[in-house]
Symmetry: C2
Subunit: 154 residues, 2 copies
């Protein structure tokens, strides 16, 4: 089942996966096209079937910081669609011609309302992913900090 690869859908039952599969639809996007920009309303969650999507943040209008490259095996992005106030905290652009599975925010919310067990599992998966990203980002900050200490010391 392709959904099992996406961290959000781990630990769900076969019937829960079926219901999630039923609300998805396919979308194709050309290389270089933007899916959304930082602070846009987050109406959809995405899974990469083919191609690659880059997540990035802008320092200013000319400097981009790459955050992650989302590939078919790793899977999914657009978590703003699941967390209040439902806005994207990064920008997403297609790095290649890509095929996505799209899950509407409103459909996911309805599934979670009708089956709170499914909601609890998905939000636990989400918290786990965010905690991991936070640890990675703190580790990067530590490296900057150590470099600063070293350059001040020597």
């Amino acid at each position: 089942m392709p959904f099992s690869k996406c961290y959000l859908f781990q630990n769900l039952s076969a019937s829960q996966i079926e219901r999630i599969e039923a609300i998805s639809r396919k979308k194709k996007i050309k290389k270089g096209q933007w899916l959304y920009r930082e602070d846009d309303e987050a109406e959809q969650f995405y899974q990469v079937k083919e191609g690659a999507i880059e997540l990035l943040t802008l320092v200013d209008e000319t400097i981009e910081i790459p955050i992650a490259m989302i590939r078919p095996k790793i899977g999914c992005f657009g978590i703003g669609a699941l967390i209040p106030p439902y806005r994207h905290s990064l920008s997403a652009r297609s790095a290649r011609d890509s095929t996505l599975l799209v899950f509407k925010h409103v459909d996911l919310q309805n599934l979670m309302r009708d089956d709170p067990d499914l909601g609890c599992i998905m939000m636990t998966n989400m918290a786990e992913k965010l905690r991991d990203r936070l640890k990675e980002t703190r580790h990067e900050l530590k490296i900057h900090f150590m470099n600063l200490v070293r350059s001040a010391t020597f």
Copy 2:
């Protein structure tokens, strides 16, 4: 109700709050004592009633990076007790003589299993908090990045 201040317990019903209150117990801790260290097994989630708890990470055995000071009004910490694999990703030390409310991991898990709606709400609150911390940490990284660009340019 004191629980309403903790982000984890937002949006719960009065009866859900009562069940959470019923599993809590009080604990006193002296200034300077460690509650847990990074990578320890996370058996408990905490809410600060009085005093202050500092969360920090170690660069090495001599250098600490402060992450947050948890005070009674902001409230709670120890999220490792709610997210697999149930380990602390920071260290916690009492900055003053403090009084805490303690929630055992196993009791919270039982509440969430018996009432998945409560679990879904708490894990959504958790994801929201982690997303906010991730945004703040990325913002700090952006500042380091801009400083590096500036020092390389001028």
